[in-house]
């Protein structure tokens, strides 16, 4: 076997597995272009889950934050969300939805909602009351206040939540083959079919995807931060301290 990446040892074997693939003893083509299919499936599952999670939790968080109620819901949901493992959810939903895309999507959506919901809720409630009072006093309707004041001011933190969820979802989508969808988790779970090199190769791919997502969404988060907010040192540092579940990176 030609080893372009031989100097990298096992890591090099894994890279070669990714880019060139192998043929197993059973004659199946694994690695290479087959990995593209797995990656596509992985991204599709993650993307759909994230889209649904955003569609549910951002409006809900904006609304709860706007009326400044439901902090109990927003906070406890995030704690429950972190406590229940996705694997358990998948097993639970098998009873109702069987295996497949719907089951997995639902489990990943539930995993993704808490960080987005909590961040959205908190960031809206963090908008200065006087700012909202002034907006109301000038004749903005509730919807206009949300759209023109609360949402733009909350946007950086909302994207912080999306970023956390996206990374979680991409990492967790590796368990999808347990419910019948072949994502990049397949080589990790199904070692007999891919071998140790295949497993390492898949792990590298998942890690790369997660890092890429993290960096991209981080850039997006900076891009959506209104220029006027970047100039406010106090607000920025305060915002950083209330970030959901991890160290601040605004």
């Amino acid at each position: 076997m030609t080893t372009t990446y031989a100097f990298l040892g096992e890591f090099g074997d894994a890279l070669q597995f990714i880019f060139q693939g192998e043929t197993t003893r059973e004659g199946a083509e694994v690695g290479g272009s087959q990995f593209l299919d797995l990656t596509w499936e992985h991204l599709k599952l993650s993307g759909v889950s994230m889209a649904i999670a955003c569609a549910i939790s951002i409006p809900l968080g904006l609304w709860l934050g706007h009326i400044r109620r439901g902090s109990f819901l927003a906070i406890s949901l995030s704690n429950v969300g972190r406590a229940v493992p996705s694997l358990a959810l998948i097993a639970f939903f098998v009873a109702y939805l069987g295996t497949g895309f719907a089951n997995l999507t639902l489990s990943l959506v539930l995993l993704a909602i808490p960080p987005i919901l909590t961040n959205t809720y908190v960031s809206v409630t963090q908008v200065e009351r006087d700012t909202v009072d002034a907006a109301r006093g000038m004749g903005m309707t509730g919807a206009e206040i949300v759209r023109k004041v609360e949402l733009p001011l909350a946007l950086p933190l909302i994207f912080g939540g999306i970023r956390i969820s996206a990374v979680n979802v991409i990492a967790t989508a590796t368990i999808a083959p347990l419910a019948g969808i072949n994502t990049l988790g397949d080589p990790i779970i199904n070692v007999s079919g891919y071998g140790d090199t295949g497993r390492l190769a898949a792990a590298i791919c998942v890690a790369a995807l997660a890092i890429f997502t993290e960096l991209t969404l981080g850039a997006v988060q900076r891009a959506v931060t209104p220029a006027g907010l970047k100039l406010e040192p106090d607000t920025a540092s305060r915002r950083m301290r209330i970030r959901f579940g991890r160290e601040a990176t605004t």
């Binding site: 200065e128 006087d130 700012t131 909202v132 009072d133 002034a134 907006a135 109301r136 006093g137 000038m138 004749g139 903005m140 309707t141 206009e144 023109k148 004041v149 733009p152 001011l153 209104p226 220029a227 006027g228 907010l229 100039l231 406010e232 607000t235």
Partner: protein, 400 residues
């Protein structure tokens, strides 16, 4: 200083710029509370005047103000804006017609100064170029340079600048009524005084009806054409122009609230130019002594005041200066303190007391003697009926 001057002449637009505001037994009882926060408040603010709501904390002054634009709903009674009940208006629509400025300003941090000011015009759907022109006009009105300020963010402004932007934003759609809740409360005393004067100067030009909330009686006296003193439980204790309030407080509460120094506070409402001064016996070097003596006899002052060719005071002459045929430059004392026509009486009195003087020359804008002010005149000024005392924007210095 011309009181009858038509208010709209210099206004920023041709629209009728002020509305009459009337509280009719307006009452607010918060849910779950027995006592009203505002109790059957009835008062009328004439168009173009500043009405200050003042009182100790918890007296319902902010509640009363916020009932006007329905930020707080009225429990019973009514509030009429130009004869029309605010209760039958849609809140958002009503608020767009009423300027709103609060102590914390509440500028939108994510928007530039121009976008902040354009908030209400945009809600009203003004064309872009009209909004842009209006923003620049307003920035100039509040003494900010449009080219320099327009594109800045609130975080890049000083406290005083932010406050000015807040006022400009409240004025953006040229509302006939302005609500201002302690708008200068969070500003240091020096800038506060400056902003107060600026606002009065602005008011002189635009003549809006203004409801101004403060807990500071001095600010109330300075800013108000009329002052409504509220006491705990949201009851109106007295509603009167500042001078009347100070001269005839209608009870213990108001008397205590305006303070024991209310006579002095009243002096702060009157300017030297507003009262009748003594005629000064002005003499120049080389004038016949006989003329000088006659001038002294015609005057209330016992000594002649030596002035230079331009009428500027040099000092009070001594007896010896009048011994020859012609007046010589032999001074008994310097012409101190010199007060100015635009000084308020309280400051002039303070100058006289500080110099241990019974009287002092009054100078006009060019520095020439316009008359003599004495402790006696100030005493008389305190007896003047309150109707004669100007207030609010009318009390501004002439050149203001």
């Amino acid at each position: 200083m011309n009181r009858s001057e038509p208010a709209q002449e210099q206004g920023p637009s041709a629209r009728p710029a002020a509305a009459t505001l009337e509280f009719r037994e307006a009452t607010k009882i918060y849910p779950g509370q027995d006592d009203p926060a505002v109790d059957a408040l009835s008062l009328t603010v004439p168009a173009g005047e500043i009405c200050v709501l003042v009182g100790p904390s918890g007296c319902g002054k902010t509640t009363a103000m916020r009932m006007v634009n329905r930020m707080i709903d009225i429990t019973s009674g009514d509030i009429l804006l130009d004869g029309r009940s605010v209760r039958e208006r849609r809140p958002a629509e009503l608020r767009r017609e009423i300027g709103y400025a609060i102590q914390q300003i509440g500028l939108f941090p994510h928007l530039t100064v121009a976008d902040n000011i354009a908030t209400v015009p945009r809600l009203l759907g003004w064309p872009k170029d009209r909004t842009r022109a209006r923003v620049d006009q307003l920035l100039e009105l509040v003494s900010l340079d449009p080219a320099d300020t327009r594109d800045r963010y609130p975080a890049q402004l000083s406290g005083g600048q932010r406050q000015r932007v807040g006022v400009a934003r409240a004025l953006a759609a040229d509302p006939p009524l302005m609500l201002m809740d302690e708008p200068f409360g969070a500003i240091d005393p020096i800038n506060r005084e400056r902003l107060q004067n600026e606002f009065l100067r602005l008011q002189k030009e635009i003549r809006k009806t203004v409801v101004f909330v403060t807990h500071d009686i001095d600010e109330a006296i300075k800013m108000g054409d009329r002052i409504a003193v509220l006491q705990r439980g949201g009851k109106l204790a007295q509603y009167a122009p500042p001078a009347e309030l100070l001269m005839y407080p209608n009870g213990r509460f108001v008397e205590d609230f305006v303070g024991a120094d209310r006579a002095l506070k009243r002096l702060a409402l009157q300017r030297v130019r507003d009262i009748d001064l003594w005629k000064a016996p002005l003499v120049r070097v080389g004038e016949p002594v006989a003329d000088a003596r006659r001038k002294v006899q015609d005057s209330d002052v016992p000594y002649p005041l030596l002035v230079d060719a331009d009428g500027r005071p040099l000092g009070w002459l001594s007896e010896r200066a009048l011994t020859g045929e012609r007046v010589t430059e032999d001074l008994r004392s310097k012409a101190e303190p010199a007060v100015e026509l635009d000084d308020v009486l309280r400051d002039a009195l303070s100058d006289l007391l500080a110099n241990e003087a019974q009287y002092g020359p009054v100078l006009d804008a060019r520095g020439a003697v316009a008359g003599v002010l004495s402790l006696e005149i100030i005493g008389h000024a305190l007896q003047e009926p309150p109707e004669q005392v100007r207030s609010g924007a009318d009390a501004l210095a002439a050149d203001g």
